[in-house]
């Protein structure tokens, strides 16, 4: 499945003999007569950034939704660390350690940064204040939020109590990525994280994604932005017509070759990664 010569020896991130952290086998999802994914496979190895690219309607979103629990596949299997898992809701995937940042930024604009970071898993005060009066431990959540944000080098945010709606697109994305990195224990999935951003902000988010990987969390990145994909990905999964066409690396193929495979203009090569 992989030819040794194509794996860059300088990049120890991927070795095909490792157990994939996250693996999908033969996922199928149909909406009536429309086939969204048609026996799709995917492997994510420890410590890598796996980009998933594909034309519109290739089934990227459905594949990712199946992995993040937002969609229940009709058939096929998902393995996390070699163990078969079944996700019925996004909560199932989250509690298994898979964090997803959706394209439609899953943040509440009116709440502040700390609130957003802990949205859905708020921490209560210890003792009766927390158990009886359900009081939130705001001081603790704020200092934790600050720590997570600065760990990822998001230094531009002065005030953790600032409403998210007052942030720029890149800063909001940083909050969403920081949340996934803070709580994801196994996998972080990012859906078009740079789509709505300017050049500078996009680069900052790319750096953020590298930081997440370097902290040991493998990342699945869905993107239309080929320069970004080729800049950051360790391997590139090309989705076409509801299936995985092939997996390449930024070293084995050029951008135009990837696009040709993606659109069907070129025959997909055997997996090179």
């Amino acid at each position: 499945m992989s030819s040794e010569t194509d794996v860059n020896p300088a990049s120890p991130r991927h070795a095909a003999d490792q157990t994939p952290v996250l693996q999908a086998k033969g996922l199928v999802k149909k909406y009536g007569r429309v086939v969204a994914i048609d026996g799709s496979d995917l492997e994510l190895y420890p410590g890598e950034i796996l980009a998933v690219i594909g034309d519109n309607g290739a089934g990227k979103s459905s594949l990712i939704k199946a992995l993040s629990g937002a969609l229940v596949p009709d058939s096929g299997e998902i393995f996390l660390d070699g163990q078969r898992v079944q996700f019925r809701t996004p909560m199932d995937a989250r509690s298994a350690g898979i964090e997803t940042v959706y394209q439609t930024l899953a943040v509440a604009p009116g709440l502040d940064i700390a609130d957003n970071l802990f949205l859905g898993r708020e921490q209560r005060r210890p003792g009766p204040l927390g158990s009886v009066f359900r009081m939130l431990d705001r001081a603790h959540m704020r200092s934790e939020a600050k720590r997570h944000m600065s760990e990822l080098g998001v230094a531009t945010l002065q005030n953790i109590g600032q409403a998210v709606e007052s942030l720029s697109g890149g800063q909001r994305q940083a909050v969403a990525v920081a949340r996934s990195a803070a709580f994801g224990s196994k996998v972080v999935i990012l859906d078009e994280p740079t789509a709505a951003l300017g050049v500078k902000e996009g680069n900052r988010v790319l750096q953020l994604i590298r930081d997440v990987r370097d902290r040991g969390l493998p990342v699945i990145l869905i993107s239309h932005n080929m320069p970004h994909v080729f800049e950051i990905a360790d391997r590139i999964h090309i989705q076409r017509l509801g299936r995985r066409a092939t997996v390449i690396t930024p070293r084995s193929h050029s951008m135009s070759e990837a696009v040709a495979i993606m659109t069907g203009a070129a025959e997909p090569p055997p997996h090179t990664a």
Binding site: A70, P90, M91, R94, T100, Y102, T104, L105, A106, V107, A108, P109, G110, L111, D115, L119, G120, R121, E122, R124, F133, R134, M135, L136, R138, Q158, N159, G161, Q162, A163, E165, S166
Partner: protein, 337 residues
């Protein structure tokens, strides 16, 4: 800190209007508070009888029921919903309480609790229809409003039950503690305690954060792992209980339980919420604003009355205020660009 948020993008050379917009965006309570203070000062100048302990305690008594209903309404509007049946639930609950103790003959406390349970159940019906049948809150509560008012007439036979026929606990909310010439009713105390409780619940608990997040962007909240249907259901149910408590306070205020009151309560509760700066689009606002909003309605009605303005023009003034408040909300929301 709220001021730091305002400072975030305000430039030195910004116009006065823009600064005001940012200030109100960061502190949405300031607008309603200013209106209330200006109204109090204006009415005090116009009529010397306005700013007296006797009159102010009357204002508070007049707004107590509306404020209690508006509290439930606030919770629902924060989730980007609306409840047209608030007044209907309150009045129906009061009629049920009266019927339980006078016609059925159960002890007062039990009748009271049964009334609370019925109000809660009515709220839960709204919540069920909104979350499970996925109907828009406006349509759901328009339907239940009509149903509850109709059941109301059936149960009461369109007859008023006098407070003197009920156990004393029913009219207890109308009794008061004199503080000088100011008479603070137990109903008002209950109302203020409820506001305190929900201020805490909304700002200091996870449930409160979830209410805001659901109203802000329900899909984002769901993806963040919040069970938004559960949040919505809890909000409608709790609002039902609050309306029933409002019904109890209503019995004390009128010294009777009448099926013919409260038609205007439905919309008045929405008026108070909107005047208090809570956005009809959800996710923004606070219960303190609602209390101020209810007081604005009370102060205007009372002040205009003392000023000799006819009742019809009081409604005109309140309506105008609502339109101004909603326009202001739209303007403030434009701040995020």
């Amino acid at each position: 800190m709220a001021t730091a948020t305002a400072d975030f993008d305000v430039q030195k050379n910004d116009s006065l209007g823009l600064r005001l917009q940012h200030l109100l965006h960061a502190n949405p309570i300031l607008g309603p508070l200013a209106v209330l203070l200006v109204a109090i000062i204006a009415f005090s100048i116009v009529n010397g009888r306005f700013f007296t302990a006797t009159n102010l305690s009357l204002v508070l008594q007049q707004v107590t029921v509306i404020a209690t209903l508006a509290l439930g309404q606030t919770l629902i509007i924060l989730t980007a919903g609306i409840d047209l049946s608030a007044g209907a639930i309150a009045v129906f609950s009061s009629i049920l309480m009266a019927t339980f103790c006078v016609d059925v003959g159960v002890p007062g406390v039990i009748a009271l609790l049964l009334g609370f349970a019925c109000g809660t159940a009515m709220g839960a019906i709204n919540g069920f229809l909104v979350t499970r049948i996925k109907l828009p809150p406006f349509i759901v509560t328009l339907g239940t409003l009509t149903i509850f008012f109709s059941l109301n007439a059936v149960v009461s036979n369109s007859e008023t039950v006098r407070g003197s026929d009920m156990p004393s606990i029913m009219t207890w909310t109308g009794q008061s503690i004199p503080i000088g010439n100011f008479r603070l009713t137990y109903g008002s105390i209950i109302m203020l305690l409820l506001f305190g409780f929900f201020f805490y619940a909304l700002s200091r608990t996870a449930w409160g954060k979830h209410v805001y997040a659901t109203g802000d962007d329900a899909e984002a909240a769901r993806l963040a792992g919040i069970r938004t249907n559960r949040v919505l259901f809890s909000v409608y149910t709790v609002a039902g209980l609050l309306y029933a408590i409002g019904g109890w306070i209503l019995i004390g205020r009128l010294a009777s339980a009448s099926p013919n009151v409260g038609v205007e309560y439905n919309l008045d509760s929405i008026t108070a919420v909107v005047l208090g700066g809570t956005s009809l689009f959800g996710g923004r606002g606070a219960v303190i604003g609602t209390l101020i909003g209810a007081l604005i309605v009370g102060v205007f009605r009372n002040g205009l009355q003392l000023g000799g303005v006819e009742v019809v023009w009081q409604g005109f003034a309140i309506g105008l205020l609502v339109l101004i408040a909603v326009s202001l909300d739209q303007w403030i929301r434009k701040v995020k660009t």
